[in-house]
């Protein structure tokens, strides 16, 4: 421990170096311990507690919250909560998928612009990225309002009755979600598209590859780093999203985020809310794990 060493050109003992390192590290790490790790662990504990009659926590260990989450209630088994959990995963997957599908053309479009305007186009993608999500969500109220063409068209096609808005509905939730997260995919993806080695694409063309194969073999592997960041930045918040389903889905299309918010708000059942959070976390981490595994496999091929 007291042996002398050279670190960054400085001669000092290992003990002193570690001490100095701890000095830098401790404030931040301590903060994260107290307000991130510890609360997380407490939330795990709380998920095994119960609810008193005034909404307070009752500290008796039980698996009741989890069996409730699985659908076992006083009145027998219902799939309600499982449906909401799976629906959230589904919405997150679809949102990520559509965002990726729209982001590729958008990124190629921007990358093909001359340097000056490219910067401008990029800024146009960055602005929604940083605009507050409450504003971006409620702005769909206007587009989907009964007075405007979109709802009129839907009424003409007999999808909705005349004079009705297109929200709350599942359709509105998807619209809101995709418009919310598209920049989250497009921005990281663009940094990969910008650096694309076009000679590989030309080589594929010379060998008469179809457009699909060019994409799969020459473009996708090269843009995978950016794409993966985008997928993670989209999928994770999309799983826990509650503003969009709350405003655009209402009671018609509830997601797990709404369910958690309900337990911490109106229902005041923190223990159950904690158990749902655990369910959400497990589902999110499991999906990320699957994604990683799948990507690693494709890289081998």
């Amino acid at each position: 421990m007291n042996k002398l060493m050279i670190w960054y050109g400085e001669l000092l003992t290992q003990k002193n170096l570690i001490k100095r390192g701890a000095l830098f590290l401790t404030p931040g790490m301590l903060w994260l311990m107290i307000f991130l790790i510890l609360p997380g662990l407490i939330l795990v504990l709380v998920s095994f507690a119960g609810r008193g009659s005034y909404g307070e926590l009752v500290w008796e260990f039980s698996l009741e919250n989890y069996s409730r989450l699985m659908g076992f209630g006083v009145f027998g088994w219902t799939p309600d909560y499982i449906v909401i959990l799976l629906r959230s995963a589904w919405v997150a997957i679809v949102t990520t998928g559509i965002s990726v599908l729209l982001s590729y053309p958008l990124c190629f479009f921007i990358a093909g612009k001359p340097k000056r305007t490219r910067f401008l186009w990029l800024t146009l993608v960055i602005i929604p990225f940083w605009t507050n999500m409450v504003i971006r969500t409620y702005s769909w109220f206007l587009i989907l309002a009964p007075e405007l063409p979109l709802a009129k068209l839907a009424a003409w096609l007999k999808i909705i009755s005349p004079g009705m808005a297109l929200y709350p509905s599942a359709f509105a939730v998807y619209l809101g979600m995709v418009s919310m997260f598209l920049p989250f995919v497009a921005l990281p993806l663009f940094s990969s598209v910008e650096r694309l080695d076009w000679t590989l694409v030309e080589a594929a063309q010379d060998l008469y590859a179809s457009n699909f194969r060019i994409f799969m073999h020459a473009i996708l592997p090269q843009t995978l780093p950016g794409l993966s960041v985008g997928v993670i930045l989209t999928f994770v918040p999309a799983m826990g999203m509650f503003v969009v389903p709350d405003l655009l889905g209402g009671a018609k299309y509830m997601l797990v985020g709404n369910l958690i918010q309900q337990q911490f708000g109106a229902s005041r059942d923190w223990a159950f809310g904690a158990a749902i959070s655990m369910g959400l976390m497990i589902l999110t981490l499991f999906s990320l794990y699957l994604y990683r595994k799948k990507i690693n496999n494709t890289e081998l091929i």
Binding site: G9, E10, M29, I42, N132, L182
Partner: protein
């Protein structure tokens, strides 16, 4: 090939319209001279003028700003120290992996879970101190918690990219630790620190979920106000407020671009994954 280019153009323009039409609608109806409905009744700036007489909105704007400034200052200092501590010292491999995981937690875990955890912890802490009553203080703590990780990630990527040669040279010339920090490391790091602080600031302004869970009755911020308002009824005044927030965001993005033109901002996003 020509067909493909055409398709790409159509999809790209369509996507941009998809992103901007709702926001443009908000701006458009914010100058519409009618209280209800979406029929065009002429141009007015009344809704904007009314904003500045609304005490609640002015307080909310002030709260939003205070929250963002204080949390950014604290998280930038803590995050920068954390990044230096992580990158410039010979920690055992296992410890490094653990630190790395902790830093990435806010990225790989939905924010609503952090919000829920904070609600529970604050309720415990409240039994020791009245400071943890829901309010601006608890919101600041919540914001700092997710900001630290992002600041540390951004600053660390800068630390890696500036390398250690200059610091080694300074040490060879017998620079003491404070001198080295003040004259070498921090100046070299400055673009990274500024980028990290800007990121933290915008994350705070952008946040809704953490604020929603940790706010008290006296600490309404603009996003919370808009959310509560549009759940009841959407008024042109809300459109006016949202339009102003939108313009502030655009200004902030432009300042950010200017400030960090040297640092590749997209690298910031890349770094978050690594």
């Amino acid at each position: 090939m020509k067909k493909l280019t055409l398709l790409i153009n159509i999809v790209a323009y369509g996507t941009m319209a998809f992103l901007y039409l709702p926001l443009m609608a908000v701006a458009f109806f914010s100058v519409n001279n009618t209280k209800y409905g979406l029929a065009w009744k002429g141009f007015t700036l009344d809704w904007y003028l009314a904003l500045f007489q609304n005490e609640v909105i002015l307080t909310a704007a002030w709260n939003t700003l205070i929250l963002a400034v204080i949390s950014t200052l604290v998280s930038t200092v803590l995050g920068t120290a954390l990044a230096i501590g992580l990158d410039r010292f010979p920690w055992p491999r296992k410890m490094n992996t653990t630190f790395d995981l902790v830093l990435h937690l806010p990225v790989i875990i939905p924010d609503i879970i952090l919000a829920a955890a904070l609600v529970v912890v604050f309720s415990f802490l409240r039994t020791f101190s009245g400071l943890f009553e829901p309010g601006l203080f608890t919101m600041i703590i919540g914001h700092i918690t997710f900001q630290i990780a992002f600041v540390a990630l951004v600053v660390r990527s800068r630390l890696v990219s500036i390398g250690k040669e200059v610091e080694e040279a300074a040490r060879d010339l017998y620079a003491t630790t404070p001198y080295l920090l003040r004259r070498v490391t921090l100046p070299l790091l400055m673009p990274g620190i500024i980028a990290g602080a800007m990121l933290a600031f915008t994350l705070s302004l952008d946040d809704f979920v953490i604020s929603f869970f940790t706010a008290g009755p006296d600490s309404i911020t603009l996003p919370l106000y808009i959310f509560a308002a549009v759940r009841r009824v959407v008024t042109p005044q809300i459109h006016a407020l949202s339009t102003l927030v939108l313009f502030a965001t655009i200004a902030l993005v432009i300042v950010m671009e200017r400030l960090s033109q040297k640092i590749n901002k997209k690298n910031v996003l890349m770094e978050i994954d690594n």
